[in-house]
């Protein structure tokens, strides 16, 4: 089936010689410069052999002098190498040339699809057709650039129709080796318009491809042949589509990248009030979020209602949930790498959005044309003003304010050197009518220097500084206090990329210094009953080195192998308490303490983290993927709630808290059909994490100077399988995924007091075995689309009271074992209508409206169950539903 004979002619001829003899015919140089067809015909005359072919197939093929001395068979093989023409011998005298129709058919289908979808095709030629050396291989090198900013686009998919597909390197460059000929090459990059080039590759040369960002603010990049990306990307890797995100129903009109992550297979969240997310049964602290290379601690506004990132300021976001490359480290479960937008180097423009809760605006343009550019964005809430208009109860005394802003200043010293200054700041103020205000902020700044040594070697040096902190203030005179927490984390890293034939090497070093002020509480009025407490500062240093190689063994097999070496030191000045051996750690068993001088290491940990991932293409439409990673996590989130809240404590590893060590094995099968119209995938994983921390029953963690007495160390295991189906093309597009996964923990000790549930495995707080996500978009007309999503998750585990008792006139509650009950299942439907502006390319303002309905059937999903002491002194359970009603919203987005 593979090779069909397109045409077969049998001519009657008297045969005296053998075909094999003809093929063994030595080329003497007389063939030089002749076309293949011409030469074969001349041989035919002088022998009894016959060649069967269609002239136009062989027309472009010529003999060059280097064939002299070869047999005809060798020369033919060489000339035909890389073409779709092959030959066979029949009946000893006939040499039949055949053409593989598959490629032709695919090419025709593709051309057909270009026509039907009215795509633009740009024609380009490298070299001159006349200079073509038939049968030779040409090398093309090139760069994929942003057509406006001229910035390189790393990770762009370059797909040669009827051939292989590759991905551009971190500096946007790529290399392609192709047999001489004409090709359709598709260039794709998230949020950018796809570009199809009809490329005549005749000689070695360079090609620069400029992609334009999707002009319609809200349009989705319609990517055909997306199997190029899904089939060849690494296991567990997902490139988030910013444009797609903008079309989904929103929560109060706010476009939210974190919410998009929460609907990916294998990712769950515990409810609305959690910008944090759980990846494959991992904790919310196990996700590394990088913003221009610097980690972010707080990713939410208003206790998690909205993500802290303005989606308009994001250029790309890549998410890894398995097979995490050696480049990343420090968090066990996932990596989200956000790269902010760079300003336009050619002209100024602005965009923005107006929603019911916040508005955002961004500007970008050249400061010096083609040299220096600026991108600045700011998003701010005005909900506070709206709350002040309310007279209902005490609500008008509440305060909810947030803003985030980003700035990127880039300067190109030359084509090869670029310096980028990036800044990001987010801040929240949340005030309760009871005079308590919470304020938290996360700010980072980084300076990045990119240098390309040549087309193959590229380096990046990043120097950054980040700070995360919160401040809780109570102004009520009798209880006035000010509680402060802060982490500052200067970061330095240097990466070096080198491309060597089929190898892409990436290596680098990095250091992060963590300076943590764990907490200070001080009374702020003379009458205040609050006792001042200051917990000693902590400082630690994390160092890392990594080396990885992405090796494209052949067109079918690619693997990425590497390792990361990391170290973490908990440094003085600090005081470590020692506890009575053979006793559970508690305030009562402290026997001594050791003091470490400034800069002295109280404890140092080392980690060796092997990483491996593999992609094997079964065909151009399906692939098998494998991944393994081991990651050390040196900083733990000590949160007394299930979600990330601003009032959390990040605890570095120290004398008592060992680093979490996570091992994950993942495997996946991907298949796409109908030229990428449908995509099916199944991925499975098993993850085991050592040294996770969980609470001792009823422990208190806020301003606890001996946290080791409040926390227990255990192990976590998670396993699951994720099914996903997508339809990428057509008026109705969408995806559905189902995940079955378990997330269990075990905390076992010789002391009953230091075991949880008698040392048995118990479900973690976010163990939600069954998860279904359904997302769709239906184009009603070119300008109007109807989108929606539906989410279902098993209710998460909680600890509930079995009964009450009265002991010594004190009412007490008899609780179940940890996490032995579940809250009701969570499900929710959201719908949105997106109305785009007109589709003319040249218009002053490109605007669109999004009308969105969140929680359409107003389900009161339980977020958490908590206890309030009632009049009888009994702790009664109450459920908190964050959004117990349907929430409509309307927002407007524009681009100038």
């Amino acid at each position: 089936m593979k090779t069909l004979l397109a045409i077969f002619l049998i001519a009657a001829a008297v045969s005296t010689g053998l075909a094999q003899d003809v093929l063994n015919h030595q080329l003497d140089g007389s063939e030089q410069g002749k076309s293949l067809a011409e030469y074969l015909r001349s041989i035919e005359k002088n022998s009894n052999s016959k060649f069967y072919f269609i002239d136009q197939w062989l027309e472009p093929l010529h003999f060059e002098k280097e064939y002299q001395g070869m047999t005809l068979e060798e020369a033919l093989k060489k000339i035909l190498q890389g073409t779709d023409i092959s030959f066979t011998t029949f009946y000893n005298y006939a040499v039949v040339f055949a053409k593989d129709p598959n490629r032709t058919l695919e090419k025709m289908r593709f051309i057909q699809s270009i026509k039907t979808e009215k795509k633009q095709v740009e024609a380009k030629a490298i070299g001159k057709k006349e200079n073509t050396k038939p049968g030779s291989v040409v090398e093309l090198s090139g760069t994929v650039k942003d057509g406006k900013t001229q910035g390189p686009l790393p990770g762009a998919v370059i797909q040669v129709k009827d051939g292989k597909s590759i991905i551009s390197s971190p500096d946007g460059t790529f290399k392609l080796q192709l047999p001489v000929g004409e090709y359709f090459i598709v260039f794709q990059y998230s949020n950018y318009e796809e570009k199809i080039i009809n490329l005549g590759a005749y000689e070695n040369g360079e090609v620069t491809v400029e992609l334009m960002e999707t002009p319609k603010v809200l349009d989705e990049v319609i990517v055909t042949g997306r199997q190029g990306s899904a089939v060849t990307s690494n296991v567990g890797q997902i490139d988030l589509k910013m444009a797609q995100l903008k079309k989904l129903p929103t929560f109060l009109g706010e476009i939210d990248i974190i919410k998009q992550i929460q609907v990916l297979p294998g990712v769950t969240s515990v409810g609305e009030m959690s910008s944090g997310f759980n990846v494959r049964g991992g904790g919310v602290d196990q996700n590394l979020i990088l913003y221009d290379g610097i980690q972010i601690f707080n990713n939410s506004h208003v206790f998690g209602f909205f993500s802290a990132f303005n989606s308009d300021a994001i250029k790309s976001a890549t998410f890894f949930k398995g097979g995490i490359p050696a480049e990343y480290g420090g968090r066990v479960s996932s990596v989200m790498n956000i790269i902010s937008k760079e300003g336009d180097y050619k002209k100024w423009s602005a965009s923005g959005g107006v929603g019911p809760i916040s508005s955002n605006v961004s500007f970008n343009g050249p400061i010096y044309k083609d040299k220096t550019s600026l991108f600045a964005s700011v998003r701010s809430s005005y909900s506070d003003w709206m709350i002040k208009t309310l007279t209902y109860q005490n609500i008008n005394k509440s305060t909810v304010r947030f803003y985030d802003a980003s700035l990127k200043l880039s300067h190109k010293f030359s084509e090869r050197d670029k310096l980028t200054l990036s800044g990001y700041s987010s801040q929240d103020v949340f005030g309760l009518p009871s005079d308590t205000t919470f304020a938290w902020r996360n700010q980072i700044a980084s300076l990045q220097f990119d240098h390309a040594f040549n087309e193959k070697a590229f380096s990046t040096i990043t120097l950054g500084y980040g700070t995360f902190g919160y401040d809780v203030k109570d102004k009520n005179p009798s209880s006035a206090y000010d509680l402060k927490y802060n982490i500052s984390y200067p970061t330095l890293k240097a990466d070096f990329n080198y491309q060597l034939n089929r190898h892409k090497l990436n290596t680098g070093v990095g250091s992060i210094w963590y300076g943590i002020t764990p907490g200070t509480i001080a009374p702020t009025t003379a009458q205040s009953n609050v006792k001042p407490v200051t917990i000693a500062k902590e400082q630690s240093l994390e160092n890392s080195f990594f080396l990885e190689d992405e090796f494209e063994v052949n067109d079918k097999l690619r693997f990425n192998a590497g390792f990361r070496l990391s170290s973490f030191s908990s440094l003085g000045p600090q005081k470590v308490y020692l506890y009575q051996p053979g006793q559970p750690l508690s305030d009562n068993t402290i026997i001594d303490s050791i003091s470490y001088a400034s800069g002295k290491s109280a404890k140092t940990y080392f980690g060796f983290e092997p990483r491996f991932s593999l992609v094997y293409k079964l065909s151009s439409f399906s692939s098998v993927k494998l991944g393994y990673n081991r990651i050390f996590q040196y900083i733990h989130l000590i949160s007394n709630s299930v979600a990330i809240t601003p009032i959390d404590i990040w605890q570095p590893s120290n004398y008592y808290f060992k680093p979490q060590i996570g091992d994950q094995y993942s495997a996946g099968l991907f298949h796409s059909t109908h030229n990428g119209k449908y995509e099916l995938s199944v991925e499975g994983f098993y993850k085991f994490t050592n040294n996770i921390l969980d609470f001792k029953d009823g422990s208190s963690i806020v301003l606890n100077p001996n946290l080791e007495t409040a926390l227990l160390s255990g192990v976590a295991k998670a396993y699951g399988v994720e099914f996903s189906a997508k339809k990428n093309i057509g008026r109705l597009q969408g995806s559905v995924n189902y995940t079955y996964a378990r997330s269990l923990r075990q905390v076992r000790s010789q002391f009953a007091d230091e075991s949880i549930n008698n040392g048995n495995y118990y479900p973690s707080n976010y163990d939600q075995p069954s998860v279904v996500n359904l997302t769709w978009r239906y184009e009603i007309s070119r300008r109007v689309s109807f989108t929606g999503n539906f989410t279902y998750r098993t209710g998460r585990p909680i600890t509930l009271p079995y009964s009450y008792a009265s002991v010594g006139n004190i009412p007490i509650v008899n609780f179940s074992d940890r996490n032995m009950q579940r809250i009701p299942d969570y499900h929710r439907l959201d719908l949105a209508l997106v109305i785009d502006g007109n589709h003319r390319r040249k218009k002053i303002v490109d605007g669109s409206w999004i009308i969105s309905f969140y929680n359409v059937y107003a389900r009161k999903n339980v977020y958490s169950v908590f206890y309030k002491t009632d009049a009888a002194g009994i702790q009664s359970p109450y459920q908190l539903s964050i959004v117990g009603t349907i929430l409509p919203s309307i927002s407007y987005r524009f681009k100038i």
């Binding site: 007394n640 963690i701 009271p801 009450y804 002194g873 359970p877």
Partner: protein
């Protein structure tokens, strides 16, 4: 128009709601044990009861009757307790001795058996300087005479013996005298014009004859009551604040000052007890359970199991404690003279005094 839309909108946003959570299905019965032996003369009591479903709004405790409760010591002595009132089992002769260990065994009539961990009766230090300080948080006007945030903070200084290893358990019982007027009880009339008709409570000695209040025919048996109040949160020492065997300035109670609590005087009796590590941990968990609640971001609630275990198969779980403690007792009285503003005379409560307050009794305490 626009503004009202916004208002509706915000209302929706903030309509995240808090409602009682139904835990009916999670009910699992358990037996509750509460008892102790001290170095003071007995009799001592061990109370057995059943746990109550969480959503039982009546909080009716059902007691465990007909069980066999035996106290054992480390010398092999045993004494079987006698159920003198339903669910309350009393000792007759045994007295705790410092240095010995005690435990109890329980067999219920259903055949379940339980046992406590052996508890060593540790000595206890004494406490001094039991004192009160009046704290005025609001004006002492007539608005704040029945229920007030003004009152007495009670402090003491403790001595902690080395054997106690920093663990101290305090309990207090407050007692005050109230006087009520059940004879003046009325009920609304039927008919169109509602008037209050005399409706004396029978124990007042008054009755109604032809619509008129008559009497008294005898002594009022429900006008004079002594109300007991108990510590509502477990009071245990924080071992970090025990310095050189002393706890100074420990606040153990707040006594509300109003026209009822100070009608005659407020009597406060404080016990300081030694306590084993297991019972200390039990109270510590209960205390954390109390302080942890009413917070949306609470840590997993502590389990309050105590020092008893089931010893028969398929026995329903047990919670509670059996303690062996040395006890030191001191008391203190507070009167109207300790309040810097005039306390009004007791108000006219037209109910029986036993109904006016929980834990209210017409029997005059021996110390009164």
């Amino acid at each position: 128009m626009k503004r009202s839309l916004i208002v509706i909108y915000i209302y929706l946003v903030l309509s995240s709601c808090v409602t009682p959570y139904d835990v009916t299905t999670s009910f699992q019965p358990a037996i509750v044990v509460e008892g102790m032996i001290t170095d003071k003369p007995g009799p001592y009591v061990v109370n057995l009861s059943n746990t109550i479903p969480v959503n039982n709004q009546l909080y009716e405790t059902s007691v465990v009757q007909g069980a066999t409760v035996v106290i054992h010591d480390d010398q092999g002595l045993t004494e079987t307790l006698v159920e003198k009132s339903p669910g309350s089992y009393y000792t007759s002769s045994i007295q705790g001795v410092v240095g010995r260990s005690y435990y109890i065994t329980i067999s219920t009539s259903e055949g379940n058996s339980y046992q406590s961990a052996p508890e060593k009766l540790l000595p206890v230090g004494d406490f001094t300087n039991l004192r009160y300080e009046f704290a005025q948080n609001e004006p002492g006007g007539s608005n704040h005479q029945i229920s007030s945030t003004n009152g007495f903070n009670i402090f003491l200084d403790s001595e902690v013996l080395p054997e106690q290893e920093g663990r101290v358990w305090w309990r207090w019982t407050g007692t005050f005298h109230i006087f009520t007027y059940p004879s003046l009880h009325t009920r609304p009339s039927d008919g169109k014009v509602i008037v209050q008709l005399p409706d004396p409570i029978p124990c007042s000695g008054y009755y109604v004859f032809r619509g008129a209040l008559m009497g008294p025919t005898g002594r009022c048996t429900c006008c004079d009551c002594w109300v007991s109040e108990y510590s509502q949160i477990p009071l245990i020492s924080d071992t970090r604040f025990v310095n050189n065997g002393k706890v100074t300035g420990m606040q153990i109670a707040f006594v509300e000052a109003n026209r009822r609590t100070l009608y005659e005087k407020y009597h406060l009796e404080v016990e300081q007890m030694s306590v084993s590590q297991t019972v200390y941990d039990f109270w510590k968990n209960v205390k954390q359970q109390k302080s942890n609640s009413s917070n949306l971001f609470q840590t997993p609630p502590p389990k309050t199991k105590g020092n008893l275990v089931a010893t028969s198969e398929k026995a329903i779980p047990v919670i509670g404690y059996f303690a062996a403690s040395s006890v030191k007792v001191h008391s203190i009285d507070m009167t109207q003279l300790d309040v810097p503003y005039p306390v009004l005379a007791i108000d006219t409560l037209t109910v029986s005094c036993t109904q006016a307050y929980k834990n209210s009794s017409t029997i005059k305490p021996i110390f009164w």
